[in-house]
């Protein structure tokens, strides 16, 4: 079976710096494969072990997004596909268009696996958009996945309920992070990742012209954390007493 995994080269939110004017410094910010994308790669590798076949990691991004593909390759993916585009000019719709075209060009695939969302912007729109474009059935927010010769059986985790869903192959799925524990690549795997093949594709090669994104970023501002940050000192009894007094005077617990 052939598995495609969509990964995003995402800015590491914990390393994101805010400049003196309160703007996030995205340019040159530290980035790596999205945290939850690792669960998608892990699930593809698990399925490959069970069913045999090939795992292809696909990303859309600038030259440096190659790093994220390498992370997927180090984890065990067989091949990378890099669609060269500036994510700053893309919205979810445009990104899904490029991914769908890359899936069609480098396919056929039996299963396309995405994470529930990227760790940077966490919109979760791209996976169902890809499904809509490639016209495969879609099963989102999967926490348990079984794949057989023709079918996908999945347990979806929704807000109030779990749904057992069946669909046919080929399908697109998005997985939630509790589905598995992603493996850490070994040093040797990291070194070998550089030798694995990566196919570079431009939007033109995918037959996609220069269309402006519908959704645009107007501004980005750092969210101030206006918290009091009062540390209550003393023995556990003293501190507990101070805390209850403080909460009562805030009016959040009865006086």
């Amino acid at each position: 079976m052939r598995f495609a995994v969509c990964v995003k080269h995402a800015v590491d939110e914990s390393e994101l710096k805010i400049d003196s004017s309160g703007k996030p410094q995205l340019e040159g910010a530290q980035a790596r494969m999205g945290t939850f994308d690792k669960n998608a790669v892990e699930e593809a590798l698990r399925l490959r072990t069970a069913l045999g076949g090939e795992v292809v990691a696909i990303t859309v991004g600038r030259a440096e997004a190659r790093k994220s593909l390498k992370e997927a390759l180090a984890m065990g993916a067989d091949k990378g596909v890099h669609v060269l585009a500036d994510p700053g000019t893309l919205d979810s719709s445009r990104t899904s268009e490029l991914l769908a075209a890359a899936i069609a060009k480098t396919g056929p695939f039996d299963l396309v696996i995405c994470s529930e969302g990227s760790s940077d912007t966490y919109t979760g729109l791209v996976p169902p958009m890809v499904a809509e474009r490639v016209r495969f059935p879609y099963v989102g927010y999967v926490r348990k996945l079984e794949v057989a010769a023709q079918t996908v059986k999945a347990e979806r985790s929704l807000e109030e309920r779990l749904e057992s869903v069946e669909s046919s192959l080929p399908s697109v799925v998005s997985v939630v992070s509790e589905i598995n524990e992603p493996r850490y690549p070994t040093l040797i795997q990291i070194m070998q990742a550089s030798k694995k093949p990566v196919e570079e594709l431009t939007p033109q090669q995918l037959g996609i012209g220069d269309v402006q994104a519908s959704v645009r970023t107007v501004s980005m501002t750092a969210q101030a954390m206006n918290r009091k940050r009062v540390v209550l000192e003393g023995s556990p009894d003293e501190a507990a007493s101070k805390l209850i007094d403080a909460l009562a005077s805030e009016g959040v617990i009865p006086k």
Binding site: E13, S14, L16, P24, F36, S92, S93, E116, G117, S119, T121, T123, G124, L125, V126, P127, P128, M129, E132, Y138, G140, R143, K153, S157, L158, E159, E160, R161, L162, E163, S164, V165, S167, S177, E178, S214, V215, R216, V218, M220, T221, A222, Q223, M225, R227, K228, R229, V230, V231, L232, P236, A240, S241, L243, I244, A246, L247, E250, V252, I253
Partner: protein
């Protein structure tokens, strides 16, 4: 007059989306229309106009069908804006619909406004570190964050039905199981005691539950306790990939305070934290902090509470 549609498969969320749609409609001189799929739910507000999309076996339980039905109805009615609730299924509906209509979809907004030409909204990104303002030319689809708007209630509007014929679906739901706990309880809770890795054993959750009860609150947790350890149901997981809460009091016990967790609690009125590590990031996100062993501090708090109640 241009229409602003409001849809959510969840009744509770649908009424919030109606509030958002009324605001957007006022801003773009349009009319808010409540859209329902398959059947009319009387608990969903109907002040103004309500459109019930019908078809054979049509149900809003399948996001694929909901998107298909909305597409067929929107193709004819040409609404200026379609707002959906950003539930897990709702986001699928919005994404699919936007692709079908060839228009933009703005992801889960906590605030939305606009004019006759544009829809503008704000959302937290980078685990809540950044507030991003996004815009799209009309027509467009936008998903509204659950809990961002108050639920609207009203009745007495005109109800129209529209038959769209057969809508296809490619997957089938074999079984449905209700989750153990309800996220609704945590979203509505005034006081939340939330526990993290600092809790050493599952048995100790009883003590934490006791503290929550003494404070009149509900027990929540950070991701590891639900996803990795499975000590509490997944529905109790508060944070970026879990649920967002906004209680009057959020008391974090033994939670280090990773960005992903803090993203889900930012809107709390007061945040208090107990952690043995004085450098834990949770103290940066808290109003009141106690650096100490939770196994000493929690009983001490309970002692204070019971002496006050006497």
């Amino acid at each position: 007059m241009s229409e602003v549609w409001a849809f959510s498969e969840s009744v509770a969320v649908a009424n919030e989306i109606v509030s958002a749609a009324r605001e957007v409609a006022a801003a773009c001189s349009g009319q808010a229309v409540v859209v329902e799929i398959g059947r009319e739910r009387s608990s969903v507000s109907s002040l103004g106009k309500k459109l019930v999309i019908k078809g054979p076996d049509l149900t809003d339980e399948s996001p694929e069908m909901a998107a298909g039905a909305l597409y067929l109805a929107a193709r004819d009615a040409k609404p200026a804006v379609i707002l959906v609730g950003a539930t897990r299924n709702g986001k699928e509906v919005g994404s699919r619909l936007a692709v079908k209509l060839g228009i933009g979809c703005i992801p889960d907004l906590s605030r939305v406004s606009g004019d006759r030409e544009m829809l503008v909204g704000e959302r937290g990104e980078y685990a809540g570190k950044v507030m991003t303002k996004l815009s799209s030319r009309l027509p467009c689809v936008a998903a509204i964050k659950v809990g961002a708007y108050p639920a609207f209630s009203g009745s007495g509007g005109e109800v129209l039905a529209k038959d769209v014929g057969v809508v296809a679906r490619s997957s089938k739901i074999e079984a449905v199981k209700k989750k153990e706990a309800s996220t609704v309880d945590l979203r509505a809770a005034k006081v939340i005691v939330s526990v993290g890795r600092g809790v050493k054993k599952k048995e100790d959750l009883e003590m934490m539950g006791g503290l929550a009860k003494a404070l009149g609150g509900t027990l929540g947790c950070s991701r590891p306790l639900a996803s990795d350890l499975g000590w509490l149901p997944e529905e109790c997981h508060i944070g970026l990939t879990g649920i967002s809460v906004k209680p009057e009091l959020y008391l974090a016990v033994g939670i280090s305070g990773q960005l992903q967790h803090v993203a889900g609690i930012k809107d709390s009125k007061v945040i208090a934290a107990i952690n043995s590590d004085k450098d834990a990031p949770i103290f940066q996100a808290a109003d009141y902090g106690i650096v100490g062993d939770l196994y000493q501090v929690v009983p001490a708090i309970q002692k204070v509470l019971s002496s006050r109640h006497r």
